[in-house]
Structures are given as structure tokens and as C-alpha cells.
């Protein structure tokens, strides 16, 4: 799997939520106005894009693009 950058994750999150400016530490729900279904859809898109599986239990600890990147990178190793 190619190296994933934070910019790529930020763009993916932004497109999922309809937000043009997303920072790596923005919280999905509190800062970006995501509903729980939106967070699940972000995770589903990440899974499909990078061909990885994220467990339901792991979703509860993903709050920001940075968290998401860390998880994707961990899975890529």
C-alpha cells in the first residue's frame, strides 16, 4: 500500500462531510458537525479506498483526521 498522507485523509474527510477546510485535529462531530452515520461512512470509505478493515471497536476511538491516519498507517505496516 502506498504511503498515505494527512492531506489525503483531510481531503477524504472533507469530501465526505462537504467541508472545504479540514484540519488534522478537527473533531468529526464537535468541530465538523458530523453525525454518527457520517463517521461510519468516512470509515467505510477509508476501508474501501485502502483495502483495510477497521473494527467497530476501533471506530469509537477515532475522533479526528489525525486519529484516522494513525490507524491507516498502523494497518499498512
Amino acid at each position: 500500500m502506498p504511503i498515505v498522507s494527512i492531506d489525503e485523509i483531510k481531503k477524504l474527510v472533507g469530501m465526505q462531510l462537504g467541508k472545504r477546510n479540514v484540519n488534522e485535529s478537527d473533531r468529526f462531530v464537535e468541530d465538523l458537525g458530523a453525525e454518527s452515520a457520517d463517521v461510519a461512512n468516512i470509515v467505510a470509505t477509508v476501508e474501501e479506498k485502502y483495502g483495510i478493515t477497521i473494527k467497530e471497536a476501533e471506530i469509537t476511538s477515532i475522533f479526528t483526521p489525525a486519529d484516522l491516519l494513525a490507524l491507516v498507517q498502523k494497518r499498512a505496516q
Binding site: 481531503k11 472533507g14 462537504g18 453525525e35 461512512n41
Partner: protein
């Protein structure tokens, strides 16, 4: 006197306030409200409306979330002689204005907290059309009691707007007669009595949460505990059931799946439940089995079916009986409630047991039609039956099974969204040739989600697709308060259509899920 003697909800609530003044009507967020409090709030609100000059049978829009104020406004409008029009508080401004136009509303009731930021543009946009926005706490309890017109059985109590096409909103007209009929049918069909205790987080501005979960308990004066609609914490719901030993709760399938996902075996004692109704979206057999197993329950989760055009409830499987699941895995929604006539037809012919066709419904709970919309009203009825748009069959015992939908309706977290409404929105964006919106359930927790497919006029760059994705998500969110799971751009003719140009939503869904769209290189963007 008994509740059966009343012909309108307003008269019933007045009677309740008189004979059971100190009795609790409901709690919201743990705060109790008596029937006297409820009636007081209703009258104050009605007085305010009358002072504002609300006319008889005039529509008043209510954009309030679950709260005590919702009930003051909802029944206050009716008390003042008007028609209440509750709408999803997450609705975008455009949708609120579309509905206001469709029902000629001059007043919008919004909570103070959202009024400043969200309703301000509405106020601006409404200027010149005489539209005014006011908050529920404006001027309350500052006015004298006034004289209100008597409500009649045949009066329209409220409009339930359903998702339709953008230019043609469909506000289902429900009269006091419709409501009382369906309330009594549901009480009989689900064997609800005064000893039942209700617990609900369902939206009170929508049919199941409003009619089943608040009108039924108000009618019987049963104990009722209402919660905010926020499901980020499902624990509040379960805690409420456990604490009050609730016997009756209701939710769409996804909410029960959410519980299964987040709550461990026997973490809560839900043994008091007599009925956990599962309705408003397709019921999964696994949800029933798993939920009952998780909490050590037996034959408590019942599957139900209904639609706004028939007030709300049409049928429900009997509590206390094993769920009926057919060989395809479809859970039966039981027998129609007493007084509900259901038949299955195809091309005008009534079908035999086991044959799948469109579900038609007849009874005194059938609505009068859509407000200010004779065309859609005519399309709704055939020989006194409602054309539900849902497909299904009846078994030999008369149990109903829902197999799918005739129209392209997306069931997103219990909310029905017409694919057409989304398509009209997307079609107006630059570069889009044609679009299709479908609901796809990929077996994940959230169930059916919105997928948008857009055919492009000519090959564009990634930057343009990315920008257009943002525009589509923004536009859908602004109107409906939800976001699609995926937006995909297809080559011209990538969306399957019939020879006369009708979108084949089911075919599109299959082609996407089987990977055929990808194999045929019809997807321009994204590449995953």
C-alpha cells in the same frame, strides 16, 4: 366519560386536564409535566397565536426538536383553530421555505436557540412574503385567556410532510377523525392498556414518535418518558426503560442494531418490556434474535408496518408470539390492525396469497390527501384505497410481508427520503448530465445509506469531480440535514434506464454491488 367519547384530541386533552390535572402526562429529559401543565402551555401558545392573528385552518410551521414546547406549539396551533405543520428541525432553510410556500404559512415556530443563527436567513428570505419567525418563549404567559373556536372531527389537525419531488411537496392531511381512529386501532392491535409505561427517544415531530409514542399515551393517560432524539448515547434510552420499568418502546431497526453494537450481554435489565416495536424501515430477523438474546427476552420485539398516508400504523405482529420469517428471510409485519383493509394488486388485479404486488390500504385512518396538491392526491387513491408504493404479499393466515418498494424511496435511519428529491437537487449542478440516488444497505450497522450517482457531460478532471462532490454533499445536507455515503461520477449512459428513459434504480444498485459498474469501466471517479 371515557376517551372513546371524544371526537378531537383537543377536547380529549381539555378533559384530561380537568379530570386528571395533577396526573403526569409525560416527562421530558426527566422533568415531569402534568396534564394541567400541558393544557396550560397549549392555551398560552394558542392565545399568543390568536393575538398574532392566526386564522382558522391556517397552517403554522413548527421547527422544534423533542421538548415540552413542541407539544405546547403543536396542540396550541390546533387550539387556536390552525393546522400544525411539524417538520424535521434539521431541515435546511430551503426545505422549510418550500414547505411554507406549499401550505401558505405565515408563521414559523422555532426554538430561541437555533432561531438566531439558523432562522435569521429564513426571516430574511421570508421578508416580502409576510413570513414571520418567532420563538416559542416569546410573550408566553403575558396574555389573557381568550376564546377559541371549537375543533371538529373533520378538521385537519396537522400536516405530515413526506419527501417528494422538490417542486411538489406532499403534506399528508390528517384529521382528528384519522388520528383517533388509528390511535384506537393501535391500542386494540397491540393490546395497549393504562398500565403500560412508554419510553421513547423517537422524534415527536414525525408520525411514529408523535402518534404512537405520545398521542396513544395521552389518550390513555399512561406513564410516558420522552428523551431527546440524540442516539449518540443509546444508554439513556436503555437506562430509562430500566429505571421506570417501561413496558413499551419503539424504534427503527438501526437503533436496535446500535444497541447490539454498543451494549454488552445483560448490561441493562429490560425484563419489564412487553413490546419493543421495530418499524419504519426493513426489519432484520437477526436484529430480533440478537436483541432478545442479549437481554434475555422472549417474543418482545415485534415487527410493524405503516405509512403517513394511513395516519401511521397499518399492521404489527402480535406481541408474545414467535416472529414469522419466510424462506427469503423477510420478517412478517403481522396482520393489519382491526378496521384496516389491505389487499395486494398488480395491474389492477387483486392477487392471491403469496403473490407479490403493490400493497393497497383502506380504512377510516386513510388521510384526506395532500394539502394543496390535487394532482398527487389523485395519484394516491384508487377506488378508496391508498396506493402505498410498497410491495409485498399476504400469507394464507393474512400476515403481511413487505418485500420492497415500488417507488425509489430511501430509508435513511428511519426517515423516508424520495430519491427524486435528491436527483432534482444534483441535476441542477454544473456539468451534471443526469443523476440517480439510491439507498444501499451494505450490511453495516447504519443500514441503508444514500448513494448518489451522477453522469457527467464530458470527461472532467479530478479537481472538478472533487469540487462537485463537495457541492453535492453541501446541497443535500443544506436541504435534508443528511449526507450521502458515497458520490460517484459515471460516464454518459452509465445509469441504466428503460427505453422510455426511466431510471432503473434496482438495476443500478445491483450493478454497483456486484462490481459490474467498475468492470465495465463506467465509474469515472472515485477509483475505489
Amino acid at each position: 366519560m371515557t376517551p372513546e367519547t371524544f371526537t378531537t384530541l383537543i377536547d380529549l386533552l381539555a378533559w384530561r386536564a380537568n379530570i386528571s390535572a395533577a396526573k403526569m402526562a409525560f416527562t421530558f429529559n426527566k422533568i415531569p409535566y402534568t396534564f394541567e401543565d400541558l393544557w396550560g402551555g397549549i392555551n398560552d401558545f394558542a392565545t399568543l397565536l390568536q393575538n398574532l392573528g392566526v386564522r382558522s385552518h391556517e397552517c403554522v410551521i413548527i421547527v422544534l426538536p423533542n421538548s415540552a414546547e413542541f407539544f405546547f406549539a403543536f396542540y396550541g396551533v390546533q387550539r387556536a383553530g390552525g393546522i400544525a405543520v411539524p417538520i424535521f428541525p434539521q431541515s435546511g432553510i430551503e426545505r422549510i421555505l418550500t414547505i411554507a410556500r406549499s401550505c401558505n404559512a405565515r408563521f414559523i415556530v422555532a426554538p430561541a436557540i437555533i432561531a438566531t443563527e439558523k432562522m435569521h436567513p429564513t426571516q430574511e428570505a421570508g421578508t416580502g412574503r409576510g413570513l414571520s419567525v418567532f420563538m416559542v418563549n416569546d410573550g408566553l404567559r403575558e396574555v389573557e385567556e381568550s376564546c377559541f373556536p371549537a375543533t371538529q372531527l373533520k378538521d385537519v389537525a396537522f400536516l405530515q410532510y413526506t419527501s417528494g419531488s422538490t417542486g411538489n411537496p406532499k403534506g399528508v392531511m390528517l384529521t382528528h377523525a384519522n388520528l383517533l381512529t388509528n390511535i384506537r386501532q393501535m391500542i386494540a392491535g397491540m393490546e395497549i392498556n393504562e398500565q403500560d409505561k412508554f419510553a421513547s427517544w423517537l422524534p415527536v415531530y414525525h408520525d411514529m414518535g408523535l402518534i404512537l409514542k405520545t398521542m396513544v399515551p395521552f389518550y390513555l393517560a399512561t406513564e410516558t418518558h420522552l428523551l431527546p432524539t440524540n442516539l449518540k448515547d443509546v444508554r439513556l434510552w436503555l437506562e430509562t426503560i430500566q429505571l421506570h420499568r417501561a413496558t413499551f418502546t419503539a424504534a427503527p431497526d438501526f437503533a436496535y442494531r446500535l444497541v447490539l453494537n454498543r451494549i454488552q450481554q445483560n448490561e441493562y435489565d429490560l425484563s419489564s418490556l412487553r413490546v419493543a416495536l421495530n418499524a419504519a424501515e426493513p426489519v432484520r430477523a437477526t436484529t430480533i434474535y440478537e436483541f432478545e438474546k442479549r437481554f434475555g427476552l422472549k417474543n418482545v420485539m415485534t415487527a410493524g408496518y405503516g405509512l403517513a398516508e394511513a395516519t401511521v400504523g397499518v399492521s404489527m405482529s402480535k406481541p408474545g408470539q414467535n416472529p414469522k420469517v419466510d424462506e427469503r428471510g423477510i420478517v412478517s409485519v403481522g396482520k393489519p390492525f382491526p378496521g384496516m383493509e389491505v389487499k395486494i394488486i398488480e395491474e389492477g388485479e387483486e392477487l392471491k396469497f403469496g403473490q407479490v404486488g403493490e400493497i393497497l390500504i383502506k380504512g377510516t385512518a386513510n388521510c384526506k390527501g395532500y394539502y394543496n396538491n390535487p394532482e398527487e392526491t389523485e395519484n394516491l387513491f384508487r377506488n378508496g384505497f391508498i396506493l402505498s408504493g410498497d410491495m409485498g404479499y399476504l400469507d394464507e393466515e393474512g400476515n403481511l410481508y413487505i418485500t420492497g418498494r415500488k417507488k425509489n424511496i430511501i430509508k435513511h435511519l428511519g426517515q423516508s427520503i424520495a430519491g427524486q428529491e435528491l436527483e432534482e437537487l444534483v441535476d441542477t449542478l454544473p456539468g451534471v448530465r443526469f443523476s440517480a440516488a439510491v439507498g444501499i444497505d451494505r450490511g453495516r450497522l447504519e443500514g441503508e445509506q444514500v448513494y448518489v450517482f451522477a453522469e457527467m457531460r464530458n470527461n472532467r478532471s479530478t479537481e472538478i469531480w472533487e469540487d462537485l462532490t463537495l457541492q453535492i454533499v453541501e446541497a443535500i445536507h443544506a436541504r435534508l440535514g443528511i449526507r450521502p455515503a458515497r458520490v460517484l461520477f459515471l460516464k454518459p449512459h452509465g445509469i441504466p434506464r428503460t427505453y422510455n428513459g426511466k431510471i432503473q434504480h434496482v438495476v443500478l444498485k445491483e450493478q454497483f454491488l456486484s462490481g459490474k459498474l467498475k468492470e465495465d469501466m463506467l465509474i469515472l471517479y472515485p477509483d475505489y
